[in-house]
Symmetry: C2
Subunit: 137 residues, 2 copies
DNA sequence: CTCTAAGTGTTATATTATTACATATGTAAT
DNA sequence: ATTACATATGTAATAATATAACACTTAGAG
């Protein structure tokens, strides 16, 4: 169908499936599970787990989303360019997840990685916390 | 049966299932998957996944083993008392996993956690690396 | 001995993720 | 435009990982 709209030279533009999965994660802001994403996007035409996993894989590779390993969930990347490095806090009580934006923390990690002569290609840091509202109650 | 051997007051002694799972992980030294453990211990009398998962859960709680989230595997704890805090390197090429024993690194993490006013209850750090032998070849 | 917490054994099922294969699409080079 | 190639798609089947539910047993404290 008339594919003459402005797609210019950007081979980086996302496909339809990648787009709708990214949009959902963007709008949610929370970590979502693959099968929840599938259910949510049935009406958009997603029918099988594979369609979701393929989109997720691609988005992870592009650095647009992250996988939080310990809860098998995916979340939009809030940093402009964290590449494949991730750092999260996860509330042990309510499960709330936040990406750590703190540049100082990330720099510190980078430093201590160097100090310890680890040749790191990337890292995934999961800090379990008691979040503010859970601490109060 | 005669349970008159010296179990003294230590209610901390492991049960049979916990024991054989721990022994397997101890002897292996590598990360093992739950269903691999199940297969390996069929001859010892383990018949169902649940028996394995229950033993693993308990051993994790006791701090005797760790779960490496990103590969759904379990590994013996090499540190005397890392509680539930874990730090691993994972080779991106061969998959080899090593627990980071480096006290300096762990101290540094603790420090920067304090510096950043994160109230951490525990953490799981996964550093992806290119291990020595993979770097050479 | 009795109570209780923890562990066991088993079946069934839920959740998470991949394999395989045929088809379609986008991009670049001819 | 035609070919070639990498990437993406759609679909069905299945693999891999983990938990629920239930009846029963064991170990240790009082």
């Amino acid at each position: 169908m008339s594919s003459t709209h402005t797609h210019s030279k950007k081979s980086r533009s996302l496909t339809k499936n990648q787009r709708i999965v990214l949009d959902l994660l963007q709008n949610s802001g929370e970590p979502l599970k693959a099968y929840f994403i599938l259910d949510s996007l049935k009406k958009e035409g997603l029918n099988s787990p594979l369609q979701v996993y393929r989109a997720l894989d691609k988005l992870v590779k592009l650095g647009k989303i992250h996988k939080i390993e310990s809860i098998n969930s995916f979340i939009i990347c809030n940093n402009s360019n964290c590449a494949s490095n991730t750092a999260f806090t996860i509330c042990e009580r309510c499960g709330k997840v936040k990406e750590i934006k703190n540049k100082h923390l990330k720099d510190s990690v980078s430093d201590l990685v160097k100090d310890n002569q680890l040749e790191i290609t990337r890292y995934n840091l999961e800090f379990y916390v008691l979040c503010k509202s859970c601490k109060i109650n």
